[in-house]
Subunit: 105 residues, 2 copies
DNA sequence: GCATGATATGTCACATATGACATAATTTCA
DNA sequence: TGAAATTATGTCATATGTGACATATCATGC
């Protein structure tokens, strides 16, 4: 596992300390986390591509800047539902979603 | 829209009465619903393929028979998170998930 | 018919996710 | 530098999702 990814996961609140701890995750758990990471990265990319700030996006989807930030950080408190809804609101197609998920794992 | 699909949506609690009502859904909303339908069908297929009853699956993933039924009916009360977690627990690969989603919309 | 198993539906207490707010940290640019 | 804009982090009341339970409906075999 790359240090950058580990750091990202730790920041996201996944309580990953050591390699052994990480190995303690089941395949489902890591696949689920990887999926969230892929979606959060897609969200940030989409937003930047549109030249929107987090505040602007928040207004657009009737959320808040802090929640956008948490989404993009793949925070443990955000659901896949919210990520998907946000991506769809940004005009992401189901196929694009699928691609993002496919490159997961 | 095919009658069968409409009926399924109505049963799932999406409050769709007429064609006009359905047209009232935004593209995001219908894409979101389509995605849930795709995941719920995948779940049922996976479960049947493994010869499991809803009760058996419920025990497997520490849920309840009624929630499995609601998942498979794409009930409005179930989250994509739960569908995804359940599919992953059944051994569905991220690629399979992606395929299911891609054929959506 | 009527058991028996499986699936569906309705409800509810409890758990988790959410937007909102405050505030801190970071970036950008003059 | 430092002010302004942007993004990150922490917390909380409320909204939404969850497992569990009861019960209904449906299917299959006797």
């Amino acid at each position: 596992m790359k240090p950058a990814k580990r750091k990202k996961l730790e920041k996201a609140g996944w309580k990953i300390g050591t390699a052994d701890d990480f190995l303690g995750l089941t395949a489902e758990e890591s696949a689920y986390i990887a999926m969230k990471l892929a979606l959060s990265e897609s969200l940030r990319n989409k937003r930047l591509k549109k030249g929107l700030s987090q505040v602007a996006l928040a207004k657009l989807i009737e959320s808040s800047q802090s929640r956008i930030a948490k989404m993009e950080a793949a925070d443990a408190s955000v659901s896949i539902d919210l990520l998907v809804k946000s991506l769809l609101a940004l005009g992401t197609s189901p196929k694009e979603l699928a691609t993002a998920i496919a490159t997961t794992g």
